[in-house]
């Protein structure tokens, strides 16, 4: 079987899952058949997942920095409050 025929087959199967299944089912199908996808698509999907993980990490770090700032503000305010009491 040629690469192209194999890609067409896997695409047909995946299409059915995407059209009729859930997102989780489609993702699982992709993971189960990942090595059967064209190299270019494998690389592209890996980059997509990497970028999403990177973006989430940046957002979590931003949030953590904000939370710590807020906590420090509260603590400093508490200290002022204690002094005024």
């Amino acid at each position: 079987m040629s690469d192209q025929t194999a890609y067409t087959e896997i695409a047909n199967e995946l299409s059915k899952v995407v059209e009729n299944g859930t997102e989780a089912e489609a993702r699982q199908f992709i993971m189960n058949h990942f090595k059967e996808l064209p190299d270019e698509i494998q690389r592209s999907l890996a980059l997509d997942v990497f970028q999403e993980a990177l973006e989430e990490e940046v957002a979590k770090q931003d949030m953590l920095v904000e939370l710590r700032k807020e906590a420090a503000d509260v603590i400093n305010g508490l200290a002022d409050n204690e002094v005024s009491e």
């Binding site: 995946l14 995407v18 993971m31 890996a46 999403e52 990177l54 973006e55 990490e57 603590i75 305010g77």
Partner: protein, 379 residues
């Protein structure tokens, strides 16, 4: 602009260009900077992708003149500027590679999806795949590459902020923990507790030990949010009395503040997300909206009517007046190019936001474009 075309003609072109330009402005050659010809020879694919990504038809004319050995002074200037851009991009890729090697382990710990992907390629394999992918992206999709660079730079900045022992915020938090004898191990155990009820009970138990401090802490916080400070302080005692009888409420609120006090400890950070699983953190910035799974279902099938209408127009725009008279190889190449262009065009509508599902869409759509039904229309 085909990169293989560039490679094919590179040797001949450089010689011809030098000869032709003997009386005009020659391409500058220095010991430390490669010439246009050298770049075309050694990095033809990447250089071609970079030029193509600029979407400037004039560049095709420029390259054609260069390859014929007939570049104008403006052509040489233009290509030299692009060689410089190419070399700068190469340096940026190397810099990003060094960040990448340090960050993939960390990201694997932090993202289940990325961890899953790493397993498919293997730890070293995924690094290689990403390096190759990012290098291609730098030339073919510079805007996206810039975005990745920005994320790395943000990550580096926030890591520095969190790790800086001299930062006033970090000092305040460290002093607070010391002053109130907050045991990090106890806090860690609490934040790591996955059973909600047990976690709340542990928090409540800890807080009863630290009651005065924490109640003042919560009350002051509330006073800032809900009332004037004077009123809040006057009502402080009442609030404290009420809170004493409300362990559940106290535990819930304390969870929020303990979260805010979480240190730089990685396990705590993971616990942060887990403990708030019912209330996922609101990301104020940083995450781009991507094409979603539901979105790609709508436009998964090529529109045969549209293709039938576009094809003759495409041939006309390509200057092809007698497609049937072209050789089978030329016909096949033209069909392939049309399919690629049509798919890219449709992608701008169906999966324009990019991301995982956009890539899936592109794969599925491109495969559907290879059907005999479509081929029958392209004649």
């Amino acid at each position: 602009m085909e990169s293989s075309f560039l490679r094919k003609h590179a040797n001949r072109v450089e010689d011809a260009a030098k000869a032709k330009n003997a009386g005009t402005t020659p391409e500058k050659e220095t010991d430390d900077q490669p010439t246009i010809g050298q770049i075309i020879r050694s990095d033809s694919k990447a250089f071609g992708q970079m030029l193509e990504s600029q979407g400037n038809p004039e560049l095709i004319a420029t390259m054609t003149r260069y390859q014929k050995g007939e570049p104008t002074e403006a052509d040489i200037k233009n290509l030299t500027a692009n060689v410089n851009l190419f070399l700068e991009t190469k340096e940026r890729i190397e810099k990003l590679d060094s960040f990448l090697s340090n960050s993939t382990d960390h990201l694997r710990e932090r993202s289940e999806k990325f961890k899953e992907f790493s397993k498919i390629f293997g730890v070293e394999g995924i690094d290689g795949v990403l390096k190759q992918g990012l290098a291609e992206m730098a030339y073919a999709d510079p805007a996206r590459f810039k975005k990745i660079e920005t994320y790395f730079s943000k990550l580096e900045k926030s890591e520095k902020t969190l790790d800086d022992p001299e930062s006033p915020v970090n000092k305040t938090l460290t002093d607070f923990c010391k002053k109130h004898n907050l045991n990090e191990d106890t806090l860690l155990a609490i934040m790591d507790e996955q059973n909600d009820a047990l976690r709340d009970s542990k928090i409540a138990s800890l807080l009863h030990g630290q009651l005065t401090t924490f109640q003042k802490f919560f009350s002051w916080k509330r006073s800032r949010e809900n009332a004037s400070e004077a009123a809040a302080i006057s009502g402080l005692k009442t609030q404290m009395d009420q809170m004493l009888g409300q362990d559940e409420l106290l535990a819930k609120q304390s969870g929020d503040y303990l979260v805010a006090l979480i240190s730089k400890n990685d396990t705590w950070r993971s616990a942060l997300v887990r403990t708030q699983s019912d209330k996922q953190p609101t990301f104020k910035q940083g995450i781009d909206t991507k094409t979603g799974f539901d979105e790609i279902r709508d436009d998964m099938n090529p529109d045969l009517k549209k293709i039938g209408k576009w094809w003759p127009q495409y041939l006309h725009n390509q200057g092809i007046n007698n497609f049937a008279g072209a050789s089978p190889v030329a016909q096949s190449a033209l069909r392939d190019r049309f399919k690629r262009d049509y798919t890219n065009n449709m992608m701008k509508e169906a999966a324009k936001k990019g991301g995982f599902w956009a890539t899936v869409w592109k794969f599925l759509f491109a495969q559907k474009m290879n059907s005999s039904e479509i081929d029958a229309l392209l004649k």
